[in-house]
Symmetry: C2
Subunit: 181 residues, 2 copies
């Protein structure tokens, strides 16, 4: 069985304070003050909820997974009090591509996996798949890092956004957070 | 946006008559007389419901998709009055594999795509993904064929079940159907 669903719940309370919601492409998300990451559906009354499933690897080869595993650290590190939620939807042209075509764009030409590797272990992350759930976004990626690594995280984002892969992104919202209280 | 969810609904009525439910591996599914394929959630009172999402290609290369497209025909052909629903769950070992490892087992060593191609256009099919939905099965595949092709369909199933890929299947239920009335 896959991991259970995760719910990213924005509202008036929550363990993360929302510093900024940046509309990168397409429609934004409504403003809210706080966000929680939950493993059960929220009570009614929140501002928005995004759902995603931690799922299986879709592109990385074994050698790439080994390189990632050697460097990566888990979520929840004490000094990682800054976080970001990047919600992305890709266009129909992306989803109509064959597996080898998507892999070639994502890694051979855009270096998505290799770029992410360079920012490990400082920037920890977890990818959630949402497309099969009928959600408004295809992917939610959750990142955690120490606040002094924010510029480094911004650098990671700009490198990915400049890639050929990102030409298929039709909606992107970036939510920047800091651990509340 | 992906195609909407499909609901495979077993109960006392439905456009397909259930001829047999075969428990191939792991737990079976309860007996029922009829099955419908619906695009909206069913009313309460059905015997069981399986959900799946028509999703993007996970393994096939462009050349393989082209070969399939050249030969395949759609669902709903008038003479295709026999159908089958194959529900499969693969084990944790499968899902822990990297993308290149799963592709090598599925196609280079098990010839899953090539074997399916041989039975086109007689056996039309549609794959639905269910794992990210938290369903009891990872995949639902719907097949339609003329009744006189049943032996050919059985042959397709035995070739796939004899493959290395199938050693990762921990639950499989085969529902054989004929168009009702």
């Amino acid at each position: 069985m896959p991991g259970p669903l995760s719910f990213f719940v924005a509202g008036a309370s929550g363990t993360w304070r929302i510093e900024e919601i940046r509309q990168v492409a397409g429609e934004a998300l409504p403003a809210a003050s706080n966000l929680s990451v939950m493993s059960t559906p929220p009570e009614p009354g929140c501002v928005w909820v995004l759902r995603g499933a931690a799922s299986n690897i879709r592109y990385a080869r074994r050698d790439e997974l080994q390189a990632l595993a050697k460097r990566q650290q888990g979520l929840g590190r004490e000094d990682a009090t800054a976080a970001a939620l990047i919600a992305i939807r890709k266009n129909d042209a992306w989803w109509a591509l064959a597996q080898d075509e998507r892999r070639a764009i994502l890694e051979e030409r855009s270096r998505h996996i290799a770029i992410g590797l360079k920012y490990l272990p400082a920037v920890a992350r977890q990818l959630f798949h949402a497309r099969d759930l009928g959600e408004p976004f295809d992917f939610l990626t959750w990142f955690e890092f120490a606040p002094e690594r924010s510029a480094s995280f911004d650098d990671l984002l700009s490198r990915l956004r400049a890639s050929e892969e990102w030409s298929y992104v039709e909606r992107e919202v970036e939510v920047r957070l800091s651990r509340a209280g």
